[in-house]
């Protein structure tokens, strides 16, 4: 027997033993009906033979925080008989990930047992720094199958082939456009742009110039999700980071195409005049948002914007379509914007097990139904779409979201040990190119690539 064969035998044996161990330790699962908000849901309850309380930091605010509180109340009701309780603390700014609160808590030994954050990119950097516990064994113990998760979601789950983050749900990016504006400009709202050239034609047609500036823009490339670092570059076909070679790549053809498009747009319309439309407090969840006020005819953003429109501009007519891409781009695809669970480093084994029960609880379709129905978020598994009321009701937009979610090209870009800094510095370079239209795109991107590669190599 060769050494290779012997090694294969040992590995196979170990796998059989682990499977047997997993089977023997498999959880005792029952179902229970509990209250979530003003409705009743049927949920699975897993008995691991332990009881106790665990702490949980939630990144959610506003309506989402209300929903999360309902979810926690439902969990506590479901696990009351087993003596398990979740104690929540709402910690803004990504559960303390964006403002240093989490890192201080982890280093000071006061971190929660579980957290959920809406910033998967920074969470990934935390994982790379060793700030979170590996979850593979725990996921096996609670019998949470992650193999069926969308491949794009798996990008964020694994660092060095070890699972640290579990997505609760995900989002897709779409082009929102106003059919009334399109018609007014002689465009056919039933045939939205499908590629970058058509998008530029639509943008030009919708733009209304005045003596002192502009009354309306067709699109602002860096508005909403366009302001995120790598959402549009990724959809345009760029691969900012190659995890296999460990190389940052900001200078490939698609990235240059993207940045040139942005810079050309700035040169054409004057960035200060464009940004006068978007400054102020008119964020996405405000009636001052330029799409709602009619100052822009199109915007690229996530499924959640439909809820903002419903709340703050119910009379505004809108339609959605996949983000138009240039040649070589990822057609009918999206980046995945996930909310992810993580268990901070330092959490003891029992607390981690208790926390994992909450993760499992939250992955159930019955628990996520309100989330999906209200925010049009999508499940991380295709089959779970069938149970969502929007699918059952034949909702057109949700069907499109499902179609986009199933694109094999979806993913979460630029996940590496310097994710957060890479994103911030990329945004700064983009701003610099927007405001200095004489700067050379490739040269600036090359400088940043070299700088960030050096950072990565010294990690």
């Amino acid at each position: 027997m060769t050494l290779r064969n012997r090694r294969a035998l040992v590995i196979a044996g170990a796998m059989v033993l682990s499977a047997a161990a997993a089977y023997s330790a498999s959880a005792d699962v029952t179902t229970k009906t509990v209250h979530m908000g003003d409705r009743e849901i049927v949920t699975e309850v897993v008995d691991l033979g332990i009881s106790g309380e665990f702490s949980y930091w939630s990144c959610f605010t506003g309506d989402s925080a209300t929903w999360d509180q309902e979810r926690i109340d439902a969990f506590n009701e479901a696990y009351e008989d087993l003596g398990i309780k979740c104690n929540v603390q709402f910690v803004p700014d990504g559960a303390g990930i964006n403002n240093g609160k989490l890192i201080s808590a982890i280093s000071g030994g006061t971190a929660p047992d579980l957290l959920i954050t809406d910033n998967p990119t920074s969470a990934y950097q935390y994982a790379a720094e060793g700030s979170f516990l590996p979850l593979d064994d725990i996921l096996t113990e609670i019998d949470l199958k992650v193999d069926d998760f969308f491949d794009g979601c798996k990008d964020v789950m694994y660092y060095d082939d070890v699972c640290y983050l579990v997505p609760q749900d995900t989002n897709v990016i779409l082009l929102y456009y106003r059919p009334d504006t399109a018609e007014e400009c002689g465009l056919d709202p039933e045939n939205p742009p499908t590629n970058l050239d058509e998008l530029n034609v639509w943008a030009d047609a919708m733009t209304v110039a005045t003596d002192s500036g502009y009354d309306r823009f067709g699109i602002i490339p860096w508005l909403d999700s366009g302001d995120d670092a790598f959402v549009l570059p990724y959809i345009f076909g760029a691969n900012p980071y190659d995890s296999e070679s460990g190389k940052i790549n900001l200078t490939d053809e698609q990235m240059v195409k993207y940045m040139t498009w942005v810079q050309d747009y700035a040169a054409k319309y004057d960035p200060e005049k464009i940004n006068a439309f978007t400054s102020g407090l008119g964020g996405m969840f405000s009636p001052d948002h330029p799409f709602m006020t009619g100052k822009v005819g199109m915007t690229i953003t996530g499924n959640w914007f439909s809820e903002a429109l419903r709340q703050y501009a119910p009379d505004v007519q809108y339609k959605v379509c996949p983000v138009p891409v240039p040649e070589g781009g990822r057609v009918k695809s999206s980046t995945f914007g996930c909310n992810v669970f993580a268990i901070p480093y330092g959490t003891d084994e029992k607390q981690a097990e208790l926390a994992s029960l909450f993760i499992r609880f939250c992955e159930q379709g019955s628990v996520n139904e309100d989330n999906f129905a209200q925010w049009r978020s999508i499940p991380v598994i295709d089959a779970a779409f069938d149970d969502v009321s929007l699918t059952k009701n034949g909702d057109e937009m949700y069907a499109l979201e499902r179609e986009i979610a199933n694109s094999p090209e979806n993913g979460i870009p630029a996940l590496c040990a310097v994710s957060a800094e890479l994103s911030t510095q990329f945004q700064t370079v983009r701003e610099s190119l927007i405001y200095n239209t004489d700067l050379d795109v490739t040269e600036e991107l090359q400088k940043l690539q070299d700088q960030m590669q050096l950072q990565l190599d010294t990690k």
Binding site: I103, N275, A276, S279, G280, A420, T424
Partner: protein, 307 residues
């Protein structure tokens, strides 16, 4: 005789009571000393060490010598933050000081009526919490509907994008700085109370008007107060964080990336605690040099009589 007198020892100094008092005194200040050692001196010393390390908080620090310091001077964002902070010190601080001193002198002018409520008006903005003031100023500077551009439009000027303009973002912050200089005005007013009326009377007899009195009497005698306010303002600029963090996050195109904001980003967003510590030490040295320079230029500790 004189020698014998000198050798005489005060019995109180060696008494039991004196030792008891010293011990009690030490016990009373001990909590502060412990706090100082644990929460001030230790972090200062530790951050000096970390500034020489690759340190990400979660993993143990790895000594890398002066690499962080050398890297900083090749970091475009760091250099931009230095330029922006320098701009605020060289332009923002003098403009704010001139406005605050001028307003204080006017408010102290006896012949002017209604100065009491005007003092209150100037002080009120300092009572507004910083975060609230920031949100308010985002509205004030709003290009389309903000009050500043609305007023400018009345006189036929198309106002800039302020916070979204690379050129005008820093001046917008200076305007905000002026708006919140009520504390400095109160201190200047207190300083003005110390200027003797007889000097003005004598100057008036010699034919000096309001402006000459201001130039030759008020400003020179207000010099220590000006020095104090300028020094605290400069330190404030070095530590400036909340306003750019909330209002612009350092943008557009790093136009408002100030020193402390970039330091914070490195420490808490990018996990580069060693790099941020190096930045902090550079700030400490530069701030000390600037302040020593000001002490020398404005002749700290010397009165008008000395000079």
């Amino acid at each position: 005789m004189a020698k014998e007198k000198k050798k005489k020892v005060n019995p109180y100094k060696t008494s039991v009571m004196r030792r008891k008092e010293a011990r009690n005194g030490l016990l009373f200040v001990l909590p502060w000393i412990i706090g100082f050692l644990a929460f001030t001196l230790y972090p200062i010393a530790a951050s000096l060490y970390y500034s020489l390390c690759n340190y990400t908080v979660i993993k143990p620090p790895r000594f890398i010598g002066t690499a962080n310091y050398r890297a900083l001077f090749h970091d475009a964002t760091f250099l931009a933050s230095c330029r922006n902070t320098l701009f605020m010190i060289c332009v923002g601080v003098p403009v704010t000081t001139v406005v605050a001193v001028s307003v204080s002198i006017l408010l102290n002018y006896k012949k002017l009526r209604g100065t009491s409520w005007m003092r209150v008006v100037f002080f009120i903005p300092t009572l507004v919490p910083t975060v609230v003031a920031c949100l308010l100023w985002i509205w004030v500077m709003q290009p389309d509907t903000g009050i500043v551009n609305t007023l400018l439009r009345y006189i036929g000027i198309q106002g800039p994008g302020w916070l979204s303009s690379v050129k005008w973002a820093k001046p917008a912050f200076i305007l905000m700085m002026i708006w919140t200089c009520g504390n400095a005005i109160i201190i200047y007013l207190a300083g003005l109370q110390d200027v003797s009326e007889t000097l003005y009377d004598a100057a008036a007899i010699d034919g000096a008007g309001f402006f000459k009195q201001t130039i030759y009497i008020t400003i020179p005698l207000l010099r220590p107060t000006i020095l104090y306010n300028v020094v605290t303002l400069i330190i404030g600029v070095f530590q400036w964080f909340t306003e750019p963090y909330i209002m612009t996050e350092g943008g557009p195109s790093n136009a408002t990336m100030f020193y402390s904001l970039y330091l914070y980003q490195n420490a808490f967003s990018f996990f580069k605690m060693g790099y941020a510590s190096a930045q902090a030490y550079i700030m400490l040295v530069v701030a000390m040099l600037v302040i020593l320079f000001l002490f020398r230029v404005l002749k700290f500790g010397e009165t008008e009589m000395d000079s």
